[in-house]
Subunit: 492 residues, 2 copies
């Protein structure tokens, strides 16, 4: 095989890194914690963006762009937000370099110190609400429904490609509303958009739920989340949507005149997903041969590999492939013919398996004579002989079946790894095995913190779907009464 991939059972974390790097998705850069997203990885991200953007716009959201930099003082405005975001961040203090007077190279010009330091945005609530202040006067100006696609920076100490990087790409939606109910509904609507995208585009069986107070976004009244289970049983938070109440409006003094002419503070939401979704995609569906991509996100949906000896066979097979490609492209499929003549078919098969291409078509001289192809699907690695007549329909069916199959597989895995747990002794043991534990919780931050301190497990969410959790019981840790179970897990 071309590029050896570590097996999941041997070293899950190394397997993940191998997939990211060897499938040409991303790599470390010369800048600590910042990644380079390579063309193949970026093509997947672009497809995610298109699918999400379409869904956002369908809800009335419009894109805009706000500054990269935030004045330092803005972080002092919203009390909780300071604590949550103004810590590890990139601080711009100067605006000029100069030639080193003592020698070669360049140095920072000490004369060019900024009066107020600028922070590279870790998230944009503050700069956006300072802008909304100028856009909002009356109820007629509401709602405002903006989203931006951009880069953000959080100075993480331990980074992992896609999962946790100092710089990452994301979208952040920021909406402003006249009423609490409307804002809360928007936050719910947007987590619904994320769940729809995760399930129907990424084939991820996510659980939707509320965050506990400890896990809420800094400055939020309520945080909704979609949580996915990775193949090592850990949880990955794949997207969040926040109801921010009037916190940012009050911090930035954003009021509107209601229909009665009375001034009120504006109600807010924010919601985001990031390149972290790439990590979720890889870890949910990948196997020991490499990536397994759902067709909706695959840069190449069908790859064709010719098997031949000599020029004549090669030409005849490639001619047939161009014919098939043309027909598939008419249906909007993305097709690649791997006509490199310095590599063996087996090498190519392994490479496209590594890259997760959903469907592979191989044609050799005997296929050509018989009017057949060898059709391989990436998810099950099954190979069948298929007739060239009706091949477009056969492939269309496969491209419908594959996402259904990988969703079902991921869902079965998740369901097999969700279990109820009712004692603290059992919890401490079970949580180390991975998976989601459905436990009773007394609702206090103190209990959650104590459980986290002892086991590293956190409440991933208080589910609103996917699990039946409404039942009376007692908290596994404190023994206090509880009205429902919540999802505990170790998370990325």
């Amino acid at each position: 095989m071309a590029k050896e991939v570590t097996r999941r059972q041997d070293n899950y974390s190394q397997w993940y890194n191998d997939l990211v790097v060897k499938a040409d998705l991303a790599e470390q850069s010369a800048v600590r914690g910042c990644m380079v997203i390579k063309p193949y990885g970026y093509a997947i991200w672009e497809k995610m963006q298109q699918e999400l953007d379409k869904r956002f716009k369908a809800t009335g959201v419009k894109n805009a762009y706000f500054p990269l930099f935030i004045p330092k003082s803005f972080f002092s405005r919203e009390a909780e937000h300071v604590a949550g975001f103004a810590k590890e961040c990139a601080v711009v203090t100067h605006h000029r370099l100069m030639n080193d007077p003592k020698g070669k190279g360049v140095v920072v010009d000490p004369e060019a110190k900024l009066e107020e330091e600028l922070i590279v945005r870790p998230t944009s609530e503050t700069i956006i609400w300072s802008t909304y202040k100028n856009w909002i006067n009356s109820w007629r100006d509401l709602p405002i429904l903006c989203n931006q696609w951009c880069n953000v920076v959080r100075w993480e100490m331990r980074t992992r490609l896609f999962l946790r990087t100092a710089e990452f790409l994301w979208q952040e939606g920021h909406t402003a509303h006249a009423t609490s109910a409307e804002a809360a509904a928007k936050a719910e609507e947007m987590v619904g958009v994320y769940a729809d995208f995760a399930r129907n585009v990424m084939a991820l069986p996510v659980i939707v739920g509320h965050k506990s107070p400890n896990e809420r976004f800094a400055g939020a009244i309520d945080t909704l989340t979609i949580e996915a289970m990775m193949q090592d049983g850990k949880a990955l938070q794949a997207g969040t949507s926040h109801f921010l109440g009037q916190n940012f409006a009050k911090s930035f003094d954003v009021q509107f005149a209601n229909k009665e002419g009375k001034l009120e503070y504006v109600w807010a939401t924010s919601w985001g997903v990031s390149t972290r979704l790439m990590g979720a995609l890889i870890m949910s569906h990948g196997d020991d041969n490499g990536l397994v991509l759902p067709p909706a996100l695959a840069p190449i949906q069908v790859v064709m590999v010719p098997i031949y000896k000599g020029e004549d066979e090669r030409n005849a097979i490639l001619d047939k492939m161009y014919e098939i490609k043309k027909e598939l492209e008419k249906d909007g499929k993305s097709v690649h013919i791997d006509d490199r003549d310095t590599l063996r078919p087996g090498f190519k098969f392994a490479e496209w398996e590594l890259k997760g291409v959903p469907v592979r078509v191989a044609i050799g001289p005997r296929d050509l004579a018989a009017g057949t192809v060898e059709l391989a699907r990436r998810d099950t690695l099954e190979k069948v002989s298929a007739s060239v007549d009706g091949l477009a329909a056969t492939i269309e069916n496969l491209l419908v079946d594959i996402p259904n199959n990988i969703y079902a597989k991921a869902e079965a895995f998740r369901n097999a790894n969700i279990r109820k747990c009712d004692s603290w002794e059992e919890f401490k043991e079970e949580i180390q095995k991975g998976g989601f534990l459905l436990c009773h919780w007394d609702g206090t931050p103190e209990t959650e913190q104590a459980i986290k301190d002892e086991t590293k497990a956190t409440i991933r969410c208080i589910p609103v779907d996917s699990c039946v959790c409404e039942e009376e019981g007692v908290d596994i840790y404190s023994g206090k009464p509880s009205k429902r179970r919540v999802v505990f897990a170790i998370s990325y």
Copy 2:
């Protein structure tokens, strides 16, 4: 009228600013020199991106993403590049804030000083070539054709919305090739893509040419440009494509084994256009009533304004409008019905004129009875009565005619303001009147610099199309012999 716009003849610069701000394209932010791109402005930029991206991909270019930050030392590597780009830039020196021990608010944590300062990218040649070093071993790895859509920062002292801002959005293409000829051809191909986009999407009659050495990109062997003439006669550089030779490959030691197994340095290009194109669009076509948008970039191509008294008329007219909208949308047109009932039709007319919507459809009760609409085109402000039967075709024709007309108008203006100039005395006078002067130049940087020092005019380009310039003559300033005329102008 809703929002008063300064007339061009009264104050061109104020007119420009009025259009940007009052048509809701962009505004200044709380961060010095950084702008907020508002949803209406961003929607135009998104359309530009889509049209450009499509064209890039058709040439084999793929998108990728490289880090926001560049280690300071990278700027010392390419000698000319240092001088050109490592000056006014945003310098990150620290990675943490902390609560002020002396009181409220946050301060920079002095303990969190970076070992090496990071520069927010002003352009990405250095970080990208440090990455390409790992991607390139043999001729088989070439060419590499990458583009990224991103934000960049150049610490400009005097900023103007879209034209010159500290942070701006752009795309930067970076390609790597095995031969000089292939790289030079790519740089030419990409300026051709820009010219095609400018002419056929933006309706800008740009001139394509080479930059003189003084105006070249820092580190380039040759810079190709598209130059547009604004309505005040000034030039605006709308896009550039650089042949970089082996300069960056040598600075970052990027070599490949050629087919004979011998190591050679790689050949490079880079090319970019930015949100500055928004400025070019506004200043080329706008008039005293506001923006004039070419249909291909208009977020709303057809706006419909009902004229009514009372609910019954309103409902009947809106019903008819929804019918028409549906039909137009079937053809892929973007249509908006302005059904706000608190505003007069005249106010709405002015607002949509300000926003540059290409076609306006108004329907009053008499139109409804007669089966007609009032059709107004934004470019000429002409109004005609048109039959509802066949309206889709009538509008389709208008949407084809409008870009042709605004292109022709801009071209006629440009041609009327290009003139030959053969004496230094005449030059000093003529250049102040605006427009492009076709002059002989002796080919030396010294003469160009002297002319710039005395008049602020620069050589915008040595045209390769749009003007007949090949003729013998003598330099207007030095009197030395010259083989061709070049374009001089005062520029943005």
